[in-house]
Amino acid sequence: MIYPVVVDVTLRPGIADPEGATIERALPALGFAGVRHVRAGKTFRVEVEADDETGALAVARSLAERLLSNPVIEDAAVRVESR
């Protein structure tokens, strides 16, 4: 089976986020007065060949931890994309 998996990479709490901060500073000028606490991140979509969903998620988690994120500053979450 081929499973479509989404990997979300976000900065760990407490790690400075210059991208999020810059976006947040631009919001009032655009009229988004009620939007706060912007945190920028990255999303990866991959297709994983595996026997079942658990296996696909295990592969994606390993990929996320070894390459797609830097565990020193980032967290990674994996989920199978609903079709």
Binding site: G14, I15, A16, P18, T22, L67, N70, V72, I73
Partner: protein
């Protein structure tokens, strides 16, 4: 003669500057392609600046998987002196050979300018010929140069005397003004500034010499300029 290997990744662009600077100090310097697996010919290794593997994903993230990296890790584990400059520093943190990480600069600006560094420790191979508190003018040239680590790591760095260089005026949002750190042994050092571009007062500063001379284990030269 001291033999130095300057490791070149696809996208490195400061290897010739590093080679020229180290040759000027009397070293025999080879450029070593990133597929090399035998580094036994070298006494010192340098990972130069640039954009290894295009800096795709994160600076250093893909370079960490280059074949040469396990030989570099072995060399470092054996106590060999390893210096990562700018992108080389980013590669060493991604590879886990140095603590912490480099993030995008505060304000998201690319910064290219001379900075004044303050020597924070002389326990490392890079700063062993300098004095604590000595100020050195060395240029920076980076977008992702803000040093970042968690509280525990910072505490360990301070206790272990592993913060090697600080910026006198923080240009990029680096935590605790950190410009360079070493591993516990002091033989692996990374810094964002470019000492190889501060070899002559003709181009603004010769303050990089004391760092690279220390790295090569040389006495400080009397002649400057």
């Amino acid at each position: 003669m001291t033999r130095v290997g300057v490791v070149v990744f696809p996208g490195s662009n400061c290897e010739y500057d590093a080679q020229a600077a180290l040759r000027e100090l009397g070293a025999d310097v080879d450029l070593v392609w990133h597929t090399a697996t035998d580094l036994s010919a070298y006494d010192h290794l340098v990972l130069p600046g640039g954009f290894a593997h295009g800096d795709y994903l994160r600076p250093g993230a893909i370079a960490r998987f280059s074949p040469v990296m396990s030989a570099i890790a072995d060399f470092a584990a054996g106590g060999g002196p390893v210096l990562g400059i700018c992108n080389g520093f980013q590669v060493l943190t991604e590879a886990g050979l140095l603590p912490g990480a480099l993030q995008k600069n505060r304000g998201l600006t690319f910064i290219s300018e001379p900075t004044t560094l303050v020597v924070a420790s002389t326990r490392s191979v890079l700063t062993r010929r300098a004095r604590v508190g000595q100020e050195l003018v060395v240029p920076i040239n980076h977008f992702s140069g803000a040093y970042t680590c968690d509280d525990d790591t910072l505490q360990r760095l301070l206790e272990g005397d592993q913060v090697v260089l600080r910026y006198r005026e923080n240009p990029n949002g680096s935590r605790d003004d950190i410009a360079g750190v070493s591993n516990e042994g002091g033989n692996v050092v990374g810094l964002m500034p470019h000492p190889e571009r501060a070899m002559s007062t003709l181009v603004g500063s010769a303050d990089g010499r004391v760092l690279l001379e220390g790295f090569l284990g040389l006495e400080i030269s009397a002649a400057r300029g």
